[in-house]
Each structure stands twice: as structure tokens, then as C-alpha cells.
């Protein structure tokens, strides 16, 4: 008996000390930017406590915590300049920005998840466009319609408003758009006597893409590059979903609640079979090198705006064409955007910051830093680059054919389901059975949101 009580008291002491130590560790780990959720949680606790202490001293400043994602240094510097300017311009608002590395996988969303569970979200945060709806559905971010007038809203390109809208309410605004262009190696096309398209009207059809890719494929070079080296992830949905839309299909029902009959529709299957054919014909490889297109080892490439930058850097004689189509002309769209969380006490100031970060001046600055198309219509008009070939094609595409990815709270699972299907098609699997399996997965996830 006695032994047991010793043991018990021992355990209790340990528990007691544990409770103390977890408090003190949260205070001591100020600037550790470790990757574990534990660290990040205590990180934000720290910022939170600074906030309240400043408010308590009677300072009337509104303090806004702002999380931005970092993908490249130029981009981050542009953000920081914009935020400094905002702080200078607004005497009553002070923005405290935190840059979180976005490794393209899950580092940024891990931070958001950790803060969510701990209840320490910032006032404004960067969110990837298609994820807006799942955050909105869960009440993590709030609608901003009442702080935005119609005129301001109309200045953004339609696709930015489309990606930020869920259930008829506007939740997010972005500074940049994105797109996918059909890049080509001018020398190789000349050699093969193939005429590139130089406007949306002249866009290649699926058949033309197939034929020309075949013609351009030789012993030591591929006709087309689909950047399968990015892995099975968001890229495949971003780049591949327009094939489905162009064929009159959809990934999910309009209201985002049903995939059966959409993800496995004949239109979707036909589009995936087209992908399957491209790979079966050997015009594209599932494991291209990082610089396959830039080094002239692929004649065509369906790539993002950043490919223009890297092709230019590599000294390639390149050009770009619009995204190929079947029936309807559509093109990929959507990028990182900003949203106001439900954690904020000053939604008005938070929206003010969002507008600042996405106004004409800001979008031009960020477009210059990243090569991405701007999200403001006027920015397109005022940037010379986008009014001349070949960049004017990207502008036309963003304004005329951009199609946002579906708005559904189940997006994280839906995008993986499509990416897996696309990848299976590239490997020559039976598209129909793969798609059926994925439909079951997404339907299970959708049940979570039925109420």
C-alpha cells in the first residue's frame, strides 16, 4: 500500500511540475522557428500576449497580425515594402507581419492548422484561393462584403472575385492571378514548320496539340512537358482541371456538395483519357528533369507564368500560346489571396489592409517581383508588358477565359482525388475504375459537411 502511495505522489508531483514547465517553456521559446507544431503554437501565444499588453496601456492603435507566405525573396521584399508603407500611411493602425515559409507542400498550412487548434490565428492571413471555401465553411474566415463597395470590387479581374466567393459572399481578395500557358521553343517549331497561335482566337485544339506534340517528338526530345516533376499535388489540378471544363465536365456539382456524376462523368473520363493518350503516345514523360523545357529537351510546355521567367533566364528563344481547348475555351486560374479571420477584433481595419495589399500599385509591384499576372484590371492596362506579345496573351486569357477551381469545403480531398486520377491516367491505368474509387473517397468527406 505504502509503495503505491509513494508512486502516486511521485506521479502527481511530476504532473504538477509538468504543468508548470509547459507554461514556462512557452515563454522562453520566443523566436524559435522550429517546424514542430508545438513550437509554432507557443510562438503565436507570444505574439498574442504582446498585443493585449499594448492595448492595455491605453495606446489607441489598432494592432493587426498579418501572416504572409514566402515563396521567393523578391516577393517577400515587395510585401514588406508594402506593409511598411501601410504603417506609415495609417496613424491608427499598426500591422505586425509574420512571414511563414511556403515550401509548396504543407509547411504553411501546418502553421495555420496549429494556430487554429490553439485559437491563435492572426487578423489577416494569406490563403490559397481554392481553400477559401473550406475556411469559410468552418467559420475560420469572415465575409467582407459590408466593408467593400461595388466599385472597389469591380476593379478586380472576375476570377479573383470568383475564387474569393463562397455561398454568394465575398471572403478573400488577392494581389496576383496565375495562369497556365502553352510555352513553345521557337527554334524547334520553326524547324518542324509548325505555326504557333498568337491570340485566344487562334488557340490550339486538343487534336492540334496531340498532332503537333507527336511531330515535335524525336529520339532525344519530348514534344510536350506537363511538369510531372512537381509531384502528385495541386499542380495537377491547377493545370489539368481545365481539360475537364473545356470538355463540358466538372469536378463537382455547382454547389460543391456532390461528386458522383461529375468526377466520374463521361466528360471527365474523356478528358483523362486524352491525358492517358498523350503519355501512351510517348510525347510527354512522367519524370521530366527540372529544366527540361528550358534546356530544349521538350518543344512545348504547359507551365505557369514562372516558366516565362526561367526560360528567359536560360536564354531560350521562347514564346507562349493560350491554353488548348476542346469545346469551351477555359484556362487555369487562382493564386494566394488574403482573408480576414474570425479572430480579429477590427475587421474594418483588416479589410483596409487587404485592400492596400491588393490595390493597383501593389498588384503591379508584386507582378513585377513574381512574373505573375496582376489581379487588378487597371494594372493590366498600365503595365506595358501585358499590352505586347507574348504577355498580352496571358492578359487576354486571365480576363477572358480564367476559370476558378471549385468552391467546396471538401477541396483538400477533392483536389487530391483529381490529382491521383490524373496521375493514374498518365501511368496508363484504367481511368474509369480509378475515378470511381476517388468518387467514394470524396463522397465520404462531403458527408462531414451535410447538415
Amino acid at each position: 500500500m505504502k509503495k503505491l502511495s509513494y508512486l502516486l505522489t511521485g506521479v502527481l508531483v511530476v504532473l504538477m511540475l509538468a504543468a508548470c514547465s509547459s507554461d514556462s517553456s512557452a515563454n522562453s521559446e520566443e523566436d524559435s522557428s522550429g517546424s514542430s507544431g508545438e513550437n509554432q503554437t507557443s510562438d503565436t501565444v507570444e505574439t498574442g500576449s504582446v498585443d493585449t499588453s499594448v492595448e492595455a496601456t491605453g495606446d489607441e492603435d489598432v494592432l493587426l497580425d498579418f501572416w504572409i507566405h514566402q515563396t521567393g525573396e523578391d516577393e517577400t521584399n515587395a510585401y514588406i515594402e508594402l506593409i511598411d508603407a501601410f504603417n506609415k500611411e495609417h496613424d491608427d493602425i499598426h500591422v505586425n507581419a509574420e512571414v511563414i515559409i511556403d515550401d509548396g507542400a504543407s509547411a504553411y498550412s501546418d502553421s495555420i492548422n496549429a494556430a487554429l487548434v490553439a485559437g491563435n490565428l492572426p487578423d489577416v492571413m494569406a490563403v490559397d484561393g481554392p481553400y477559401v471555401s473550406s475556411f469559410a465553411e468552418a467559420g475560420v474566415i469572415q465575409p467582407i462584403d459590408k466593408y467593400i463597395d461595388k466599385e472597389t470590387k469591380s476593379q478586380y479581374v472576375d476570377s479573383i472575385i470568383q475564387q474569393g466567393t463562397y455561398n454568394g459572399k465575398l471572403y478573400s481578395l488577392g494581389a496576383m492571378e496565375a495562369s497556365v500557358m502553352l510555352y513553345y521553343n521557337k527554334d524547334l517549331l520553326d524547324e518542324a514548320g509548325i505555326e504557333p497561335a498568337d491570340s485566344i482566337e487562334g488557340a490550339w485544339t486538343w487534336d492540334e496539340l496531340m498532332e503537333n506534340s507527336k511531330k515535335l517528338t524525336t529520339e532525344d526530345r519530348y514534344g510536350l512537358n506537363l511538369f510531372m516533376n512537381y509531384g502528385v499535388g495541386e499542380w495537377l489540378t491547377f493545370m489539368g482541371a481545365p481539360l475537364v471544363w473545356s470538355n463540358g465536365g466538372a469536378l463537382i456539382s455547382e454547389d460543391g456538395t456532390k461528386v458522383d456524376g461529375y468526377l466520374n462523368s463521361p466528360e471527365t473520363i474523356e478528358a483523362l483519357n486524352y491525358v492517358k493518350d498523350l503519355f501512351a503516345e510517348g510525347v510527354v514523360t512522367d519524370s521530366p528533369g527540372e529544366m527540361q523545357f528550358e534546356e530544349g529537351n521538350a518543344a512545348l510546355a504547359l507551365g505557369g507564368p514562372w516558366i516565362a521567367v526561367s526560360a528567359e533566364d536560360a536564354g531560350l528563344n521562347w514564346g507562349m500560346m493560350p491554353y488548348p481547348y476542346k469545346d469551351e475555351k477555359v484556362s487555369p486560374s487562382g493564386s494566394m489571396a488574403y482573408a480576414v479571420t474570425n479572430n480579429t477584433e477590427n475587421p474594418e481595419a483588416a479589410v483596409e489592409l487587404m485592400k492596400w495589399m491588393t490595390n493597383e500599385e501593389a498588384t503591379i509591384k508584386i507582378s513585377k517581383a513574381t512574373g505573375m499576372p496582376p489581379a487588378q484590371k487597371s494594372a493590366f492596362e498600365n503595365m506595358e508588358k501585358f499590352n505586347e506579345l507574348p504577355w498580352s496573351i496571358m492578359k487576354e486569357q486571365v480576363i477572358q477565359t480564367a476559370h476558378a477551381r471549385p468552391a467546396t469545403p471538401a477541396y483538400p480531398v477533392l483536389t487530391d482525388a483529381f490529382a491521383q486520377s490524373f496521375h493514374a491516367a498518365s501511368l496508363g491505368e484504367d481511368v474509369e475504375s480509378v475515378v470511381e474509387q476517388q468518387v467514394q473517397r470524396v463522397e465520404r468527406e462531403l458527408k462531414r459537411f451535410e447538415e
Binding site: 505504502k2 502511495s5 509513494y6 502516486l8 505522489t9 511521485g10 502527481l12 508531483v13 511530476v14 504532473l15 504538477m16 511540475l17 509538468a18 504543468a19 508548470c20 514547465s21 509547459s22 507554461d23 504543407s106 498550412s109 501546418d110 492548422n113 487554429l116 487548434v117 490553439a118 485559437g119 473550406s134 475556411f135 465553411e137 468552418a138 467559420g139 475560420v140 509531384g231 502528385v232 499535388g233 514523360t285 512522367d286 519524370s287 521530366p288 528533369g289 527540361q292 529537351n297 483538400p412 480531398v413 487530391d416 491521383q420 496521375h423 493514374a424 501511368l427 491505368e429 474509387q437 473517397r441 468527406e445 462531414r448
Partner: protein
């Protein structure tokens, strides 16, 4: 929220803690027997005091997360709605049996372990034997074989991803020299797991080699001399002197490799993202994805609980086997 509840617990714990200890201190002990008891108590407390740092760390970073995972496995915890957790009984566990991805991940993990464990064991032993001989450049070889262990597994995975590339990778270029066409090492569902196995054996064997080496040097030299006198061939010496001498070490390595193999995560995460067609998705990776990418912490916790049971079972079976071997 979490902070509040734990500090509340801290208070009550404190009260409980005082209650049993107070009487023993207040009553001035008239007899030696009692004093000895309080002395023993003090000694025990001192012991716990010294144990405290380790126990606290264990509690905070091991016991608490394990308890939390066990609790969450019976709930529908969805990361985006942390305040809306409801108890759903065994629903998560029953879904495991319908989850085709879990089944695939389970068999992938079993396949990986069943191959990696014996191969790595054999390679490590082979390397240790080689290095134990008095050959030239012995130190160089030892360093070379051990260096993959020192490198971060993430770095190693990225390097091997480059080497496996069908178009520009080193291995395929070498194969090209001897006339073999490029192999889709990581992009073919049939080859991807085997490619990961090869890389994993190469990466891990160096560490086990060092342990084997220590074991080899522990075998008394007079046993070999006696065998020489009896006219044993080197194969006979290996079979009847070296192997029996390494038995305990081999079993230790066997268990550590098995557990490590079951926890396969980094290689598929970096090299294949679990693909192609899920052929390299491991159990831990599936749990990770479910929890963090699809935010379904409840279901991920349930799978983690089941995973722990599986590893525990395997370890117990191995323990039983060891006891038999020793007896």
C-alpha cells in the same frame, strides 16, 4: 483553453499531494521503525526529484500526446473546427476496415519491412566482416560505409531522387553505358517500393555495421585459435564461432530495424509522395496525410492507435522469440 484546464488540474493535484504526506511529518515519530519509514519516504522523494526531468519530458512529449491521440480517436476532431468535437464511439475504427488506402498502406509497410529487415541485417553483417579484416584503407571504407547514417534522411532522399531520374539520373546513365534502357525507378508502381528499399538499406546499414563491428571485436580471439588448432576452415569458423558470438547483437539489431522499418515515412514523402498509385504509401505517411492534409485528426488518431497496437504486437512476439533463443 488547454492551458486553463491543465492549470486547474495542477491545483487539485497539489492538494492531493499534500494530504498523504502531512501526517507522516507532523506526528513526531517515537519509534525507530516509524522514523525509518519517513527516511525511506524522503529517500524516495529524492529519487523522484532526480527522476523528475526525465519523467516530465516523457510525460509532456510522450504520454500526453499518446493520451490525446487515444482520446481523439473516439471523436470527429476536424482541424478547422477545433471547438466542435463530438464523441462518435468506434466509428473511426470501423472505417479503418473499409479504407482501401489503409489496407494498401498496411501491406506496403509489411512488404517494406519483410524485405528491408533481413537484407539490411545481412548487408550490415557483411560490411562489418569486411571491415574487421586487416585490409588496406580500412578506415576509409569504415567512414564511407558509415557516412550515409550521418547525413539527414531528407537530404539522402532528395539525392537518390535525382539519381533515380529516368532521363537525367546517374543510375540510368550508367545503365545506358552498358546498354540497358532507362528504368522508371520511382515512377513505375512495380519498381518504386523496391527502389526505396535499396536506398533505405544503403542508408541504414552503416549504423548496424558499427554495432556488428563492436560485437565482432568482442568475440575472444582464443576461440578462433582453438578452431585453427582443430583445423577448421574459415567458413566453419564463421558458422560455429562468429555467428554464435553475434547472436545477441543480431537480435538487438533485428528488433531495432523492424521497428524503424515499420515507421517508414521520410523516403516516400520526399521521393514519391506515396505514389505512383499509392504503391509506396506507408502507414505512417497515410496517418500524416489524413491528419494534416485532410485535417481529419479523429480518424488519423484512430489509425495511429491501431498502428501502435501493430508495432507493439510485433515487438512482443520478437521478445518472446528472444527468450526462447536464450533458453
Amino acid at each position: 483553453m488547454k492551458g486553463n484546464s491543465s492549470s486547474a488540474k495542477q491545483l487539485t493535484d497539489h492538494d492531493h499531494y499534500k494530504a498523504p504526506s502531512e501526517p507522516s511529518i507532523r506526528k513526531v515519530p517515537p519509534k525507530r521503525k516509524k522514523r525509518r519509514k519517513s527516511q525511506a519516504f524522503q529517500e524516495a522523494m529524492t529519487g523522484y526529484f532526480f527522476l523528475a526531468p526525465a519523467l516530465i519530458l516523457l510525460g509532456v512529449f510522450l504520454l500526453y500526446p499518446m493520451g490525446a491521440a487515444f482520446y481523439y480517436s473516439f471523436t470527429d476532431f476536424y482541424i478547422l473546427k477545433p471547438d466542435d468535437i463530438s464523441f462518435i464511439g468506434f466509428e473511426n475504427f470501423s472505417y479503418i476496415w473499409q479504407d482501401a488506402q489503409f489496407r494498401q498502406a498496411f501491406w506496403n509497410t509489411v512488404y517494406f519491412s519483410v524485405i528491408v529487415v533481413p537484407v539490411q541485417l545481412a548487408v550490415a553483417l557483411g560490411l562489418a566482416l569486411l571491415i574487421n579484416k586487416k585490409i588496406k584503407f580500412r578506415v576509409f571504407f569504415r567512414t564511407a560505409f558509415f557516412s550515409p547514417v550521418v547525413m539527414s534522411l531528407v537530404v539522402v532522399s532528395i539525392l537518390w531522387t535525382f539519381m533515380y531520374n529516368p532521363n537525367e539520373g546517374l543510375i540510368n546513365q550508367l545503365l545506358g553505358v552498358i546498354g540497358i534502357s532507362p528504368q522508371p525507378f520511382l515512377t513505375s508502381p512495380d519498381q518504386a517500393m523496391n527502389s526505396i528499399i535499396v536506398m533505405s538499406v544503403w542508408q541504414g546499414a552503416g549504423f548496424q555495421m558499427m554495432i556488428f563491428l563492436a560485437g565482432l571485436q568482442n568475440i575472444p580471439n582464443h576461440l578462433y585459435e582453438a578452431a585453427d588448432i582443430d583445423g577448421a576452415t574459415s567458413w566453419q569458423k564463421f558458422l560455429h564461432v562468429t555467428l554464435p558470438g553475434l547472436k545477441n547483437i543480431a537480435l538487438f539489431i533485428f528488433i531495432t530495424i523492424s521497428i524503424a522499418a515499420f515507421k517508414l515515412l521520410v523516403q516516400p514523402m520526399i521521393m514519391t509522395q506515396g505514389g505512383p498509385l499509392g504503391s509506396t504509401k506507408s502507414l505512417v505517411y497515410h496517418i500524416y496525410e489524413t491528419g494534416f492534409n485532410y485535417r481529419d485528426v479523429g480518424y488519423a488518431s484512430a489509425m495511429a492507435v491501431v498502428f501502435t497496437m501493430i508495432v507493439l504486437t510485433i515487438t512482443i512476439i520478437q521478445r518472446v522469440l528472444i527468450r526462447e533463443e536464450r533458453g
